[in-house]
Symmetry: C2
Subunit: 482 residues, 2 copies
């Protein structure tokens, strides 16, 4: 007798007819004391278990209810009912775990529509809901596709440190990591907290980016990527920010900015195609869901494209490549700028672009993903390569429909003297980054890389609108439950 995962059994379909099988899972519904929908997490779909209640002990049947867990032994038969090809005619049922219906009422497992907010409050149970289950399977597929892509292309996965003694990059506010008992820190002679006494012998933080360390790795291994958690101690309670999120940062020796753009485009298309190919059922479900949420919006706020449509739209369009300077010209002349519909009007070169501008370029003007490059040096980080005009740097942002910037990257400044000058100007400590500067001392080479926030990608692919709904246990201001 074979134990089947439900996904495998549903895939086998009629070929499994007459087979004696075992299935295990959780009850999603139990209708008419006869039809059990059983789910084991391997897929969105349930297997229908048919119970001839006349042949089963009444006491046993009473234990079967929504959310309870079962082991079912039975025979696969063609289904008489609609909605499924096959079903399992139960011969024997074992109940692993019963459920108290009063307790169930308080949970999101109670079969009725629950708000996403309620799901978040019970993040430990939402893995068992259709929506979150689908999101988690898609998230998995995207993560695997990312590793698969880089491995195929000869990149080495490098784990950059989470706890870091450097706070030089300035990508955002950092959390402190300490082994002191808070409020009882030892003091030095001057009365200041004596960080020499702390675990690492100095002040340490949670990383905001592995890029600088990844650069050192790329200077030896050629092509590397990081994929790990990063942190921001910013008090942004929005649907787009997390205090803890996962980031992917490839870094490639000898790549210039054009190579970097090629890599970003090829990479994004690969992982999105992978999800489309491997998550058809879940994406179809999320597509339907997305359609419904759009219909609830006022007409002028609805997305033009459906979820799967917008994924295909990314695959089927060559990303437009456009300099920042050209973008500013387009935006200045654009209708929403002329008619003052933008919240932030574009008046002159040097302005930082907002999501509304990015989306205008992608959704209205080009109707294609866009890569903007050569941004003003002033609004970008110190490590980006200065152009000959001395005003712009070899930065690039990849802009997607609905969400705007999804990737940010650059060619790095490989010239030691230019880099040092830049650091001085921007107040970045040379002393702290001695090791970073070393890579420019000992055989420096042109190199480039970019960063992709995983959760932004998952938002884009699943059509969800709140970033808290695409990570298992979101960390946000005042929230570190579980």
């Amino acid at each position: 007798m074979t134990r089947y995962y439900i996904n495998d059994l549903l895939k086998k379909g009629k070929d499994a007819n007459h087979e004696e099988v075992i299935v295990k899972g959780w009850v999603r519904s139990f209708r008419s004391n006869r039809f059990i929908s059983l789910n084991d997490g391997t897929s969105l779909g349930n297997i229908q278990v048919v119970v001839d209640f006349e042949n089963f002990d009444e006491e046993l049947l009473k234990k079967i209810s929504v959310a309870s867990s079962l082991k079912v032994t039975g025979t696969v038969v063609e289904s008489q009912g609609k909605g499924q090809e096959i079903e399992v005619l139960a011969k024997k049922i074992e109940v692993y775990g019963e459920v108290n219906p009063d307790e169930l009422q308080e949970t999101i497992l109670q079969p009725k529509k629950h708000s996403l907010e309620k799901l978040r409050e019970q993040a430990h149970l939402r893995f068992r809901t259709n929506t979150f289950g689908a999101i988690m399977r898609v998230r998995h597929a995207l993560m695997f596709a990312i590793h698969d892509y880089f491995n195929q292309k000869g990149f080495f996965y490098v784990n950059t440190p989470i706890i870091t003694g450097s706070d030089a990059e300035g990508a955002g506010e950092m959390f402190t990591v300490t082994n002191f008992t808070l409020g009882e820190e030892p003091r030095n002679e001057e009365g200041a907290v004596d960080f020499k006494e702390d675990f690492f012998g100095k002040k340490t933080n949670l990383t905001v980016s592995g890029q600088l360390e990844a650069e050192t790795a790329a200077m030896g291994l050629g092509k590397v990527y990081t994929f790990g958690p990063t942190f921001r101690a910013e008090n942004s309670n929005t649907s787009r920010h997390l205090a803890e999120f996962w980031m992917i940062e490839p870094e490639v020796a000898f790549n210039d900015l054009d190579d970097n753009m090629d890599l970003a485009e090829d990479f994004m298309k690969y992982v999105i195609k992978y999800a489309l190919d491997h998550c058809q059922e879940d994406l179809k479900f999320l597509d339907e869901r997305y359609k419904k949420t759009q219909e609830e919006k006022p007409k002028n706020e609805r997305a033009e494209l459906g979820l799967i449509e917008r994924l295909e739209y990314v695959l089927n369009n060559k990303f437009v490549r456009l300099s920042y300077t050209e973008a500013i010209e387009i935006l200045k002349k654009s209708k929403p700028n002329q008619k003052k519909k933008f919240k932030y009007l574009i008046e002159e070169w040097g302005a930082d672009l907002q999501s509304e501008h990015e989306r205008y370029l992608v959704e209205k003007h080009f109707k294609s993903p866009v890569i903007l490059f050569d941004y003003p040096a002033k609004i970008k980080a110190f490590y980006m390569r200065l152009n000959d005009d001395k005003e712009t740097v070899r930065a690039m942002d990849v802009l997607f429909p609905s969400i705007g910037e999804i990737i940010g990257g650059s060619q790095r400044e490989e010239r030691l003297d230019v880099l040092k000058e830049k650091m001085q100007k921007m107040g970045v400590s040379e002393e702290e980054l001695w090791w970073y500067l070393d890579t420019r001392r000992f055989g420096t080479v042109p190199h480039s890389g970019f960063g992709l926030g995983l959760e932004r990608l998952v938002l884009f692919v699943t059509g969800m609108s709140n970033i808290r709904d695409v990570i298992p246990f979101p960390r946000t201001p005042k929230n570190a439950e579980f």
Copy 2:
């Protein structure tokens, strides 16, 4: 003209003869003003570039030295010399980055033998050394194999939180994460630090394990695994401990301990075979290195098996499965116990096993990897399933030659009442783990999982002896450089 990564060109070998190519990389050596060994990190092997110095500008040649970086355009020819099949006859050389020889002297890039300790001090440069480069490529292959294995088996990768509000698991001492300025924490009316004012509104730590959260995911998705950084604030300055390391934790609904042992054995064999198949050149190099380090030891301390031999030994042996009770009997009667050669003598049932005992079982008694199971409840964690004897729990440890325990796991206690009793006895807060207990309330099922420390695995596969040499930027007491 094709730009080749050096690995690809070496693989192509004579088939590339007469091709016009571009190669880029760092100079490993420059002999007789004529022979350049060039490496780009894609492999241990270098490509030899031959320079007809008569045809090159003297000023240019002066810029080429060890560690400098080049772009070489030339023709592939069969090599006249020994040690390589092909070489590149240079037509044009561009120097990306020169190196000051005085500065180079201070670094590990200076071509001579450096201690592993010196390599650690220059962790940002050691990616460019043969040994660390090989380790990093093997580490990558192992990490990819892990994702590949679980993906093939239908597991979903789940990112459990790094910052956690719970410190209930008791796997080890935890680091504190805070957004307070240390020494200036706000106080409440009682004068205690007011954690309500902190970023998350409560005291938060860095995770020591994602297991409990992974269990909640497995209760919905069926088969999951985590793969992320974990932390221990323990002041252990040994060659086996890191404050920050990467851990893999699969968790499977409906698996009992036998299934768990099957999974652990199959998984370990898969990833080790993957490394053997994909890292032949690097493992051969590390095998040689291992042999030399063994020869430097006194005879009685030398390992019986070579590095590759011991990997094959794991593949070719069925893991012996043995209860803790049987193990104690064997150890009690063993020669080193009788002759008091063990540092910790085994006197009675209940003793915690040390590495020396584990290695005796594996290396001397069984000559095979061993899985010990059914440990005394007293020495194991609260969540492990209690056996009917009430004295032992369904724990398992996988023991390997040279390093002892490499995997620890268990079948989890799925019975709510037994779990609660256990928590009470062991002082684990029910209130804090309300969400964990919920999984036993709403359709509880038998389930199992285990944890593997990535760096322990990399130590085993590379034959290195200090854990600081198998992670890019090790975090240890008083050390968080880079």
